[in-house]
Symmetry: C2
Subunit: 344 residues, 2 copies
C-alpha cells in the first residue's frame, strides 16, 4: 500500500546508520550485536514497515525451517489425525511443513522426496510404507518414520505389542471360552505386527483356547464387510453357544463386525465381546461404543517432531556428531473399556 | 556422496563452455536457447550430478511455486478429505503446499498468513472461517476460499441450496406426514445456509407440514448425542405415529440420530426416514447405510486450485489484468439413496 513496498537491507542500513553487514548479522546471528543495537534495528523495521523475505534469508544462512511430510492418504482417520497433530507442533517448534500424499505409489514418492530436497528441507517425516528404510537412510537427511518399517532410520511408534497384550488380557479376564484375533497377513518387520505377537503370547502364557485369523480384507468397505460376514458365519458354526472374545486389528473392522451382528440380532448378543485398536472416532460413534486400544497420537506426533528437531539442531553445530544408531521411541497405548466388553 | 556436492552454475558453464548467463537462461527461460544447446546443458547436468536448488532459483525469478493452505482442523472428515484432494493436485499443477491448522484461532491464523507471505507464497487457499473475506482481499494475493464467507474473494462451494432442495424433495416424494430439518443456527452469508433455504423453499412450494429445528449442538460427540436425544423425545411426543422425514445438516448428526433410534428400537422404525449431508464415510459405515447429499470433494478441490492457478498465471504476465469481481464457482451435489429412505 505504501510507496516503497520492498525495503532492503540497504534501506535499513541507511536509516539506522549501521553497515549492511551489521543488518545482516541482526537477522542471522542477532546475539553478535549488543542489545541496544538490536533494539535500534528492531525499531527501524517497524518504522520502515519491513516485510521479512525468508527466501532471501534462507540463501544467507541455509536454514529453510522446512520439514517435508509424506503421508499415504488422509482418508484413514489415523493418518489425518496424525497430520493434524504434526502440523500443530508449529506452535512449539516453528517449523513449516511441505506435505505430500503418497497414495501407495513408490515412484511418485521418490519424485516427491526429490522435490522436497530441491527446496532444501531440513528434515523429513514419513508415514508411508513404500520406500525401504535403507534407501531413506542413504539420503543423509534427518528422518523420522511413524508406524512403518524403520530398521535403518529413527522412528516413533505405538507400543503395539503392549496394545495386543492389553486387549487380549481384557478378554481373558472376562473368561471367554475362546479368544480370536482377526488381522491381515503382515510382515514381521512392521511395528503393527506386535499386535499379533501380543495376542499369541497372552494365549500361550495363560494356555487359552484361541484362534488367529489372518485374512486379506481387500480394498474398501464392501469387501471388508463381505470378509467379516464370512468370518462370523464360520465362527457361529465352529463355536455355537460359546463365549467369544474377539480382538480386531482396528476400529474400522470392529465397527463393521459389530454392525453385522446388530443387523442380524438387533443387539450385540451376550456371547460376543469385541475390542478394536486405534481409538478412532468410529469406535465412539458406533451404534454401541466399542472398547479399543487408544494410540496417543498427539504424543507420537510431538515426539516425532522433537526427535527430528534434535537431529536438525545437531547438524547446525560446528562439529555435528551424527547418531551412531537410529533411535526408536515407543509410546504406551491406553486401554479404553466401553460397552462391547462390559458384561463380566 | 561424490567429492563435489554442490555443483554451481559456474561449474556447469565451465563444463559446457557456455557463459553463466546462458546457464541461468536455461533454468529460467529455456525457450530462449536453441534445442541443441538445451540438450547439451541437460546432458551436462546428468554428467555433473547437478542437484537443483529451487531456493536459489526462486531468488532469480521470484516464483516459489508455493501455495499456502489454512484448514480449521483435520478431525472433521470433510476437511481431511478436501486437503487430501487439494494436495493431490500436485500431479496436475506442480504447486507445493505449505499447510497450517487454524484451530479456530483468529490471531494465530493472522500469524500463519504473515509467515506464509514471508515465504513468498504465490497463492492462498482458505477453508477456515475466522478472518473476514474483506481482510483477506486486502492482502492483494491470489486467494480462493472453500465453504466459508466469500463476499470479497474468489471461492468454490457446493451448491448447498440445490442439496437442501434435493434432500427435501426426496423426503416429500415418500409422502411423509411431517418434514423436519435439524441444523445449527448459522449466518446467512455462509454457503451452508443454502441447505436451510432449500428445505424451506420446497416445503413452501409444496405446502408441506414441516418444522425447522435450529439448535446449538455444542462441542463434541457427547453433547451432540444429548441434544439429538432430546429432539427425538420431543418429536415422539409431538408427532406420535406420524411418518417423519428428517433431513439432518450433516452425516455425523444423521449417524448419531440413527444410533439413538437403533438402541431404542433394535431397528430403524418404519415411521422414520433419514437423510444426511456430505457423503462422509460414516454415512456408509453406519449400522444401516444412510442416504445423503454427496459433495464432490475431488471436483471442488480441483476447481479451487485451478481458479487459483489462473490468478497466479495472470500475475506473471507483463501487464496483468486483475479480476474485476471475485469469481464464485458452485459444484453440483449428488443425491445418494441408501437404506434410511428406502421404504416407499
Amino acid at each position: 500500500m505504501g510507496k516503497k513496498q520492498n525495503i532492503t537491507f540497504n534501506d535499513i542500513a541507511k536509516y539506522t546508520n549501521f553497515s549492511k553487514t551489521t543488518i545482516s548479522r541482526y537477522f542471522n546471528n542477532p546475539d553478535s550485536l549488543t542489545l541496544e543495537n538490536q533494539e535500534i534495528i528492531a525499531k527501524a523495521l517497524v518504522d520502515l514497515d519491513y516485510k521479512e523475505n525468508k527466501v532471501a534469508r534462507i540463501l544467507a544462512n541455509g536454514k529453510t525451517e522446512f520439514i517435508g511430510i509424506i503421508v499415504p492418504n488422509l482418508f484413514l482417520h489415523y493418518y489425518s489425525e496424525m497430520l493434524d497433530k504434526i502440523l500443530s507442533t508449529y506452535e512449539q517448534f516453528g517449523y513449516k511443513f511441505l506435505v505430500f500424499i503418497g497414495n501407495q505409489n513408490e515412484e511418485n514418492e521418490r519424485r516427491y522426496i526429490k522435490e522436497l530436497l530441491s527446496y532444501k528441507i531440513e528434515g523429513l517425516i514419513i508415514l508411508s510404507h513404500t520406500i525401504p528404510s535403507k534407501e531413506l537412510a542413504a539420503l543423509s537427511l534427518p528422518i523420522v518414520t511413524i508406524e512403518r518399517e524403520d530398521k535403518y532410520v529413527c522412528s516413533v511408534n505405538t507400543d503395539n505389542y503392549m496394545g495386543g497384550y492389553q486387549a487380549t488380557n481384557l478378554l481373558a479376564r472376562h473368561r471367554c471360552d475362546v479368544l480370536i484375533h482377526i488381522n491381515s497377513p503382515s510382515n514381521e518387520n512392521i511395528p503393527a505386527y506386535g499386535r499379533i505377537k501380543g495376542f499369541m503370547d497372552v494365549c500361550a502364557e495363560k494356555q487359552l483356547v484361541h484362534e488367529l485369523i489372518l485374512k486379506e480384507m481387500g480394498n474398501g468397505y464392501e469387501s471388508l464387510q463381505e470378509q467379516l460376514n464370512q468370518i462370523i458365519e464360520n465362527l457361529e458354526l465352529k463355536y455355537p453357544g460359546k463365549k467369544k472374545g474377539i480382538f480386531l486389528s482396528n476400529d474400522t473392522q470392529a465397527n463393521v463386525f459389530l454392525n453385522l451382528l446388530m443387523r442380524k440380532y438387533g443387539t450385540l448378543p451376550k456371547d460376543y465381546l469385541l475390542i478394536g485398536f486405534d481409538n478412532s472416532p468410529i469406535s465412539r460413534e458406533a451404534v454401541i461404543p466399542i472398547s479399543t486400544i487408544g494410540q496417543q497420537i498427539d504424543q507420537i506426533a510431538y515426539e516425532a517432531v522433537s526427535l527430528l528437531v534434535e537431529q536438525m539442531d545437531e547438524r547446525k553445530k560446528r562439529r555435528p556428531v551424527p547418531l551412531k544408531e537410529p533411535v526408536h521411541k515407543v509410546i504406551t497405548p491406553i486401554l479404553l473399556r466401553r460397552e462391547t466388553t462390559e458384561k463380566i
